[in-house]
Assembly symmetry: C4
């Protein structure tokens, strides 16, 4: 009941997958969304799952869309660049087993199209922000640390956090189990987990662009984030919504309801 | 473990399915229930599922019924009308995967009996009601908007809401995935989600009746809603009940219970 | 993962199954437990399920037992009596799908050993108790009502409640789906759902004993309930425990924990 | 989706398995962790499961690890000793069915490598600690009680508790269903369930070491616990985290969010 619909079958070589699903500060969502737009990456697959919210989103004010994750690809244009697969979407799974099952499906497809390395992008909610908010890194293996340590990444994440939640962490954990490697990049952001933070996204983008040898016009980010605003608000709503549902369930019904006497 | 029991096999042509399961204001439930009665639609299937509440309802004060969804059909009587399948029932699923799995079963049956288009009916809780409460519409595709835009439907739902929860949205999302089309009609109602609102149901009915070219005597709606009252109260109780169960779980046991010391 | 271990294969004729799992007031548990003891019914099966609590109970202060449901049988001794299967146990399922799946397993076994009719015993928490606390009845079909209406049963349950929760209701709902019949008997008890109420159990026993034409010495009930006390306290603890777990999850950790900064 | 990766296939004779997964006071985790280190036991299997948290842990500050349970073995060095399998890990399952499914997988492997008896180690949160905190025992069968009663174990657990939660209890319950035997040892610890208690771990170790005829230098325990500190803090965070997630879900969003109006 997790289904991938292929729209194309790109043949990529030694490609990197960059994950940017909604999460803390929606940093991955914004960063990867911007890369997709700027690089004019091509969509090649949709992923639907019974582990997502039982909701549909409304696009353009009236058009119904099942929640989904999407795959895009972009082919390297010159030496020093790599083919890229992008994973972006409306949401993550609601339950633990959903996270694991969707994760495995994502990695199956990644392997099939030629992905050899994975970068995930997430956020770290630090409460107050430090003066200099360096991007935090975590890796599957020491050789990845060595490979990327020249970049401005703080590899002491373990001092600040004990674990990484959701797709940003799990995709890499499951990938490592397949004897493959990758890195997680976390932008530092303020407390409340579900407010989009484009500034933190920019900091992660800076690192990613250098690692991947991309030429990206960063000046349009602010404008693009504005354009994405309506959509990002819906993504945030979706996240809040999950909280609300539970909260609602706790409001005690105002009046004693005779028809509710407990039976069993 | 989602089972459909067929009582008949209607052969329909280019039929429309109208969904009216319990939800906000029970608008769909009331509207579709009234259409079934007025058109004397014939039942042809029951759907049971382990994803429903582990409850039974009591009809006629003492008769036990498993929770279920029901399918009815009605054949077009004259030109300009279409064959109709009605989906009505006691409840929706409790969990996300239940919503998805029951939804797929519903659509499988719909396809088998000849349904080509789906209308879902739901409610939009707006807090305060605006003077004129127009029916809100959302569609799977622009061509549906074009087809029905002459009717009194406000297609700016996306401005008011970001998504549609439960069967009213999900059935259409899953239907679109099968390259088929449909429309969601939402009556506007006041805040508390689980009080039946026959006035909002009437507004949606007005639109539906015109679209489907039906002759329905609307004057009996009020009387019929009164007759349905006992049943609707049970449906509401069922919805409140889901909330209550969780609320109850939160009441702290009054006394320290020696036998409850934590172990593990 | 719901497993029935057979210890014997009784061949019964036109037998009745009487369910008495823990529930409101533990009325069914006490009533059926007393019948099993008084009739010296023989155990013939254990049912284990992954849908039960992930706990073990301690019997005799130190002996570990997986949670289970148990089946006993008793053969009619003289004309006017019927063979009986008893269903008793430590707990019910935790989730909706567990209730449905365990329920089907129970009914499969019941059919196999010759059960043709089912009685379930539960409790109705009425808040305050009325002067005369008549046993409440609900049935799968009018013919069952007719069959048992001469007994002191109030068949207006539907006025007091809209549905019956858990095994007491669901077993009958699922049984009816198999075109078979049965009756639910509910003792009225006070508010808090998980305090054992032997008085209410006695009232249901009175009705059951007459229906089944049994000779049971009721004077020992009080003494037996005392003997059962330690076990019933554990069953109650188990029920409270389910509540506690959730309650605990809500206590906010006292200190700010640096290592808990949110990531994702 | 619960997978065991074998790194070796030890052939053991009449071996005992000792379980020490995180739990109350992390007593089992500390005690078994210390035994593994002191005996230089060899790892031979990893267990991963979709029933664990959808998290990854960070080791050495930056290295990503999927949550897992691990199996080690140690071969008896002299007469009077037994081959030992150790079960240790980052976490237990999140849901009931996860507990049951992972438990069965553990026991399957245990049987395959020659385990005949199981000891589980857990904690009992007693609120206040009694002067003398004796280790509490529970067994699958009277013959186990007889076998080990000469050791300093209080076999009146049933007076203090009605059941044992999680792996410490369930592994033994499921093991007994396979007609096999074992014992649970519970260290007494103070109230808050998720603070590591090395003192209680030492008391259980004392008993275990005598039963298994091991020569263990206990003086290093304190030092080792210090070394484990960073890891134990992560395990505690993981446990608190589970609570936090739910707590967070209950914070009401501060402002009324127009885009959150309820629909359905």
């Amino acid at each position: 009941m997790t289904v991938i619909k292929l729209l194309g079958k790109p043949k990529l070589k030694n490609a990197v997958l960059i994950e940017g699903l909604p999460g803390v500060g929606n940093i991955g969502r914004v960063a990867v969304g911007y890369l997709i737009e700027e690089l004019k990456a091509k969509k090649f697959a949709d992923l639907y799952s019974k582990w997502f919210f039982p909701f549909v989103m409304l696009h353009d004010k009236y058009k119904i869309h099942l929640l989904k994750n999407e795959f895009y690809y972009w082919k390297a244009k010159r030496k020093g660049q790599r083919d890229i697969v992008f994973l972006i979407g409306d949401c993550q799974s609601l339950s633990p087993q959903g996270h694991y099952e969707v994760g495995e499906k994502v990695l199956d497809l990644a392997e099939k199209v030629g992905v050899t390395e994975i970068f995930t992008v997430g956020g770290l909610a630090t409460g107050e922000l430090e003066e200099k908010r360096e991007v935090i890194g975590a890796v599957t293996d020491d050789k990845i640390l060595k490979k990327y340590k020249k970049h401005k990444i703080d590899f002491n994440a373990g001092e600040k956090v004990g674990y990484i939640v959701g797709a940003a962490g799990l995709l890499l954990g499951l990938w490592k189990q397949r004897d493959k490697d990758g890195m997680c990049l976390l932008g530092q952001t303020t407390g409340f987990p579900i407010v989009t933070d484009p500034k933190a996204a920019e900091e992660v983008l800076d690192v990613l662009v250098k690692i991947l040898n991309l030429k990206i016009d960063m000046t349009k980010l602010e404008k693009k984030v504005k354009e994405m605003e309506e959509f990002m608000k819906k993504v945030e709503s979706l996240q809040k919504r999950a909280l609300m549902d539970i909260t609602k369930a706790h409001e005690k019904p105002g009046k004693k309801d005779e028809s509710l006497r407990y039976i069993g």
